[in-house]
């Protein structure tokens, strides 16, 4: 019962499991997945999934990329087309735009395009020759590269990468499209130049650079040499300066040595010089002394003698001079005295004559007037007698008057009287007469004529009379005869 029941359960379960396994295996066999770098080309068993191009025509097969799809085995054929990158190496002998033969080695990198059109074209051409695709492309692209190189110059090929890619597109674009290929990159790796064009191309620059290098080298060399020579010159200058200084110092040393060597003689000479100076001074002093002695013993006595002689001569001369002067003065005085005497004589005579005339006139006049005035005068005289007083006073001063008159002789030092005693008397007479005349004059002033005649005469008229003069003369002769 349990066994039968369990078998009833197990058998259907096994069948179910078996069916599931079969279904899984079947699905596994029918399901294909396209990986990212490949495309599935499915043909046979036309269905709705068959691709159509833009014009609506069926392609007759299906392209699957990047996903899985169900394939009916035995009915449909599935092929895988790799979309990986391919590389083709190119070795091409060609001629450039300038006609220069070059050997170009390059690399072209290409792949099948990712779009259905490219995959379709490629699938139709390379599906069974995927391993030969590189060779095909190499053959195709060699021709393209030849034409590309032929349209460019070497310089452009070397330098202008943009132009190279553009030319590559132009030359190969349509053809590659036919093959369903995309050129990712074209690289010219090497340009072999049998004619040396590129080398020559570089030659000017090389030469210029070499020239510049040589110039720089020469400049540097020259500069170095210049510096070297300058340094040598400076060195020589320094050596010369050093030698000059050395010589200078040597000269100083020699000089000092010579001076030191000469110091002894010099000192000796100096000392000798001092000695000579002192000796000279001594000699000078001795000479001075001798001179002084000479002066004292010879010159001074001679001078004294000379002075004495001079004094003697001067004295003699003076004596002679004085003698002559005295003689001359005496002669002069004598002449003067004679002239004075003559003049006095003349004057006295004139005065005498005049007085005589006047006395006569006055006598006549007085006689006339006396009578007229007698009465009046007598009356007045009686009243007052001033005249008498005046005359008295005059008489008292008379000696003074006479003395003043005699004073004229007071300044005469030498009164030489030539006539002896008679001359003296005459001179005194003249003086007295002068005093008399003065007296008369004074009396005339003070005393009217009539009164004077009648009035008793004062004592003076006697003194003035010539008879009395002899009495007075001894008194006056003291002054006048002093020299006599």
């Amino acid at each position: 019962m349990n066994l039968a029941a369990s078998s009833v359960i197990i058998v259907p379960a096994a069948v179910v499991v078996g069916v599931i396994i079969v279904v899984i295996l079947l699905f596994k066999a029918m399901w294909r997945v396209a990986e990212p770098n490949e495309a599935l080309i499915i043909s046979g068993l036309r269905d709705k999934g068959i691709a159509k191009d833009s014009s609506g025509d069926e392609m007759g097969f299906r392209i699957v990329t990047g996903k899985g799809t169900l394939v009916v085995p035995g009915v449909q054929a599935v092929r895988r087309l790799s979309l990986d990158l391919h590389q083709a190496d190119l070795q091409v002998d060609c001629v450039t735009h300038q006609g220069i033969p070059v050997h170009v080695s390059g690399t072209v990198i290409f792949k099948i395009g990712d779009d259905p059109g490219s995959i379709t074209n490629a699938a139709r051409r390379f599906l069974d020759q995927q391993d030969k695709m590189d060779q095909r492309v190499h053959n195709v692209f060699a021709g393209h590269l030849r034409s590309i190189v032929g349209s460019m110059t070497v310089e452009d090929m070397i330098r202008d990468r943009e132009q190279l890619t553009a030319r590559t597109r132009e030359a190969s674009g349509s053809e590659m499209t036919k093959l369903g290929l995309i050129i990712d990159s074209l690289q010219i790796q090497e340009i072999d130049d049998p004619t040396g064009y590129i080398k020559n191309l570089a030659m000017p620059h090389t030469a210029a650079v070499a020239s510049a290098a040589r110039i720089a080298q020469a400049d540097a060399d020259r500069e170095a040499t210049e510096r070297e020579q300058q340094a040598n010159a400076l060195k020589a200058e320094a050596q010369r300066n050093a030698a000059i200084k050395e010589a200078g110092f040597q000269a100083e040393v020699d000089k000092a040595n010579a001076e030191a060597a000469q110091a002894g003689p010099l000192a000796q000479a100096s000392a000798r010089q001092n000695v000579v100076e002192q000796e000279t001074r001594t000699a000078q002093l001795e000479a001075a002394k001798q001179q002084q002695v000479l002066v004292a013993t010879v010159i001074r006595p001679a001078e004294a003698k000379r002075d004495a002689d001079i004094a003697t001569a001067q004295a003699a001369s003076r004596v002679a001079e004085l003698t002559a002067e005295g003689q001359a003065k005496r002669t002069t005085l004598e002449a003067e005295a004679k002239a004075t005497a003559t003049r006095a004589t003349g004057l006295a005579e004139a005065d005498a004559t005049k007085a005589r005339g006047m006395a006569e006139g006055e006598a006549i006049e007085a006689r006339g007037l006396a009578e007229a005035k007698t009465i009046k005068a007598r009356a007045e005289a009686l009243a007052t007698n001033p005249e008498a007083v005046a005359m008295q006073s005059l008489a008292e001063h008379w000696p003074d008057v006479v003395r003043e008159a005699a004073g004229a002789f007071a300044h005469v030092k030498n009164f030489t009287v030539l006539d002896g005693a008679a001359g003296v008397n005459r001179a005194l007479m003249e003086v007295a007469s002068t005093g008399m005349a003065s007296f008369e004059f004074l009396r005339g002033l003070f005393v009217p004529k009539g009164v004077a005649a009648d009035a008793p005469p004062p004592p003076m008229p006697q003194a003035a009379s010539p008879a009395d003069l002899t009495l007075v003369s001894p008194a006056t002769s003291d002054n006048g005869s002093t020299e006599h």
């Binding site: 779009d115 059109g117 553009a166």
Partner: protein, 72 residues
């Protein structure tokens, strides 16, 4: 088929586009970048490398017709 989907997109010129030459543009497509041949849409325009262009139309076998986008 797939080229038609690119119409209206922008692309970057990677090779000079002009008359008488084959230009190249780079387009974002299918999550990656693909290069297509490019020609000027009006047949005379010259577009230098690096400029942004608008894809006007497409021809099969990887050729796009583009025109330069002005300065935006």
């Amino acid at each position: 088929m797939s080229e038609q989907r690119l119409v209206g997109k922008t692309a970057t010129v990677t090779g000079r586009v002009g008359p008488g030459t084959v230009g190249e543009v780079s387009v974002h497509v299918r999550g990656g970048t693909e290069t297509y041949f490019a020609r000027p849409a009006d047949g005379a325009e010259v577009i230098e490398k690096g400029q942004q262009v608008l894809i006007v139309s497409a021809a099969p076998a990887r050729t796009l017709y583009v025109t330069a986008i002005g300065v935006f």
